[in-house]
């Protein structure tokens, strides 16, 4: 039971029957045919994005046909001995008492064509096997796989629909006896973009949170959801209508956060003239933001809000179609990271600034020059630099 708790749900709830596999009916049909016609073709390749159920499908096939799975991964093919010891005897002769066997070669993408053995070893195995081989891969269209493709049946697994994932999560919730609001499950399902494993992992990590944190996490998710809708409206539609004018009404973020989201994502949608227009609008919005701050003239908010929303929408002439994966703004994180890295620089500048009657800021600005003067160990002593500060200096002087 304890073990049960620690298994990732994505393993614990691997499907065991065809009927549990969501959204892959077409693929199941093809595999059934492949097994029925074996050994017309000896191998079948299941390919598609991660987390759609390639490996699961192989295990379900085994369970449904009451067979045993012999699993190999790419690295096993580097070792000729290993293959023959595991598979060799088994693949050539049907053991008298044992179960029927299926060989699973998982994630063949990792196999190398140059190393000894490797791909050629797999091809040889396909020649002599008396059991069906199921191969999984993300991408099978590499040139090195041409021979393998020829010898195998190909089945493409499609990205899962968010509805399939939603159903899956719902069932897991029932079995785990947890209550998660429907909107959350929906949001996880959409965010997973077809990757069932990612969605299940996401659900599991959420379920471990206590209520307070859960609420916060949900809030964070809702926030992101709401800004996504707003960005979609602004970047896809060209006409300034009522909806665009009130586009941020539903977004529960501060204006400063909205600025960052817009800034990050403009280049994803606009190029050339549109890019320049959109940034011009953003820049004007920022000017009004500055004026509001400095002069406390709140009326300017009207203009700020116009330039940060409708004016950016109007930077293009025509509507756009399709979905864009909007990015989370990274600038604040980068600034924070750099500040962490700059800590020593800051503390040295602080000491120097005090000694020389200038501001820390000025010392930071002049740091490239100051560090040259601080090559002198005796001067360092006067400033009472610490060991770590000296090491930092030596490092910047070396580079």
């Amino acid at each position: 039971m304890i073990n049960q708790i620690n298994i990732p749900w994505s393993e614990k709830y691997r499907p065991t029957k065809y009927s549990f596999l969501k959204g892959q009916e077409l693929a199941i049909e093809k595999i059934r045919n492949f097994l029925k016609n074996f050994p017309k073709k000896k191998a079948i390749i299941l390919y598609g994005p991660t987390g759609v159920g390639k490996t699961s499908l192989a295990y379900v096939v085994a369970a449904e046909t009451d067979s045993e799975i012999l699993e190999l991964n790419a690295s096993d093919f580097r070792d000729k001995q290993k293959i023959s010891s595991v598979i060799g005897p088994a693949s050539i002769q049907n053991s008298l008492f044992g179960k029927y066997k299926i060989i699973l070669v998982d994630e063949v993408d990792g196999i190398s064509s140059s190393e000894k053995g490797g791909l050629s070893e797999l091809l040889a195995l396909i020649e002599k096997t008396s059991f069906p081989i199921i191969i999984t891969a993300n991408d099978i269209w590499d040139k090195k796989f041409s021979l393998l493709r020829e010898k195998s049946e190909l089945v493409q697994l499609k990205n899962l629909d968010y509805k399939n994932i939603f159903e899956l999560l719902n069932e897991i919730c029932k079995k785990e006896n947890i209550v998660v609001p429907k909107e959350v499950l929906l949001s996880i399902s959409i965010k997973a973009r077809g990757d069932a494993r990612a969605a299940i992992n996401d659900l599991q990590s959420l379920s471990k949170l206590d209520e307070g944190i859960l609420a916060k996490e949900l809030d964070e998710r809702n926030k992101e959801q709401s800004i996504f809708y707003a960005l979609h409206a602004i970047f896809k539609f060209a006409k300034i209508d009522d909806r665009i004018l009130r586009v941020y009404d539903e977004v529960n973020m501060t204006t400063d956060e909205i600025f960052l989201w817009i800034e990050e994502n403009i280049p994803l949608e606009y190029k050339g003239e549109e890019l320049a227009k959109a940034f011009d609008a953003l820049s004007r919005a920022d000017v009004f933001r500055g004026r509001v701050h400095r002069q406390q003239h709140w009326r300017f908010l009207v203009y700020q809000n116009f330039f940060i929303g409708p004016a950016i929408a109007a930077s293009k002439k025509y509507n756009r179609t399709g979905m864009t994966n909007y990015r989370k703004p990274l600038r604040i994180l980068k600034i924070w990271l750099q500040n962490q890295r700059n800590k020593k620089k800051l503390s040295i500048s602080e000491k120097y600034a005090k000694f020389c009657h200038i501001s820390k800021k000025q010392a930071m600005k002049d740091f490239l020059l100051i560090r040259l003067i601080l090559k002198n160990k005796k001067i360092r002593k006067q400033l009472k630099l610490t060991q770590e500060e000296e090491e930092y200096l030596d490092k910047t002087l070396d580079s």
Binding site: G272, R284, D286, H293, F355, S359, I379
Partner: protein
């Protein structure tokens, strides 16, 4: 070669040693001689002697006990006017000892304070006027609100002339046994744009390599002390690669602590070196000026610079057709 920081070692200790600011010195000196000074406002470019004169004032007033009666604050480093007010309050609580009945607070870079903060500062100045005198320094007196200006005697520090700086540099060279060629001095002066503190720093960094200062040596030091070139950013723009341009720009600003104002200055200078039509250069300069204006008015420097980059990307595209 001495083991001290030269900007401190050669900071003038007496009014007579200060170069270039004859008018200012004459008037400040007579105020100090009366052992009573009003609030002072020193306005002028960086590296012209504002902090130096302030230090001389307190040393002349308080002699050996100047440290106890002097508080130095920097407005651009203190977190808000409340912190400044608290420090002033703590410092001004006790009365000054000796012949001079007040203490002196030097508030450097006072123009870094917002208008509201300056209003608060004005009240603080009034509240402690019996026990304290303020010396404020700023680059532009226009950035200091009128009520403060009217409470201070304003002194304008001039950008140092080449011959004034030469006097100081010759003194240092003699004392440190350095030789310097005339071209090398011209180069030093050029790079430091009349900022005496910067020129002395450059000289010391250069002298740490060799006592014979040549123009090549100075160029080496300058290239080591220069933040990464904005040219790379502009080249990305003209190649139409906005995403990389803004990434590089952020890197430069963060890594070398370069302000938006300095970036835009560098861009404005670099435009004339770009391989594009003259007409386009004019348009880009106009755009740069507009963005510099907005940068002062706005609240997020990086957004303003991105808008400029987007303008460059567009110009680059049109320039090619």
């Amino acid at each position: 070669m001495t083991n001290e920081i030269w900007t401190e070692k050669y900071r003038p200790k007496k009014f007579e040693e200060v170069v270039g600011q004859e008018e200012v010195i004459k008037r400040v000196k007579s105020l100090v001689n009366s052992l009573n000074i009003p609030h002072l406002l020193f306005a002028g470019p960086a590296g012209t002697g504002k902090s130096t004169v302030a230090l001389i004032v307190v040393k002349e007033l308080f002699k050996e006990s100047w440290r106890e009666n002097y508080l130095e604050l920097n407005a651009s480093d203190e977190r808000g006017i409340d912190v400044i007010r608290q420090k002033v309050k703590d410092f001004a609580r006790t009365r000054a000892l000796g012949a001079v009945p007040f203490k002196v607070i030097f508030l450097d870079e006072a123009d870094a304070l917002t208008r509201e903060a300056q209003q608060a500062l004005r009240r603080t100045m009034e509240n402690f006027t019996n026990t304290c005198r303020f010396i404020l320094s700023c680059n532009y007196s226009s950035k200091i609100i009128d009520p403060i200006q009217s409470r201070c005697v304003v002194f304008r520090f001039q950008l140092l002339e080449k011959k004034s700086i030469k006097k100081r540099i010759d003194l240092i060279c003699a004392s440190e046994s350095l030789t310097i060629t005339p071209e090398a001095f011209d180069a030093l002066y050029e790079y430091s744009e009349g900022d005496c503190r910067r020129i002395i720093n450059l000289l010391q960094a250069t002298a740490s390599i060799s006592p014979n200062i040549t123009i090549d040596l100075i160029n080496t030091i300058v290239s080591q002390a220069k933040p990464t070139d904005v040219r790379i950013v502009l080249d990305y723009c003209l190649a139409g690669d906005f995403e990389n341009a803004r990434k590089k720009l952020l890197d430069i600003m963060l890594k070398d602590s370069v302000s938006g104002t300095d970036i835009i200055k560098a861009i404005q200078k670099e435009i004339w070196n770009l391989k594009i039509d003259e007409e386009l250069k004019v348009r880009l300069t106009e755009k740069t000026g507009e963005i510099e204006f907005r940068l002062v008015e706005g609240s997020d420097e990086f957004i303003q610079l991105e808008a400029l980059l987007a303008g460059f990307v567009l110009a680059g595209k049109k320039g090619k057709v």
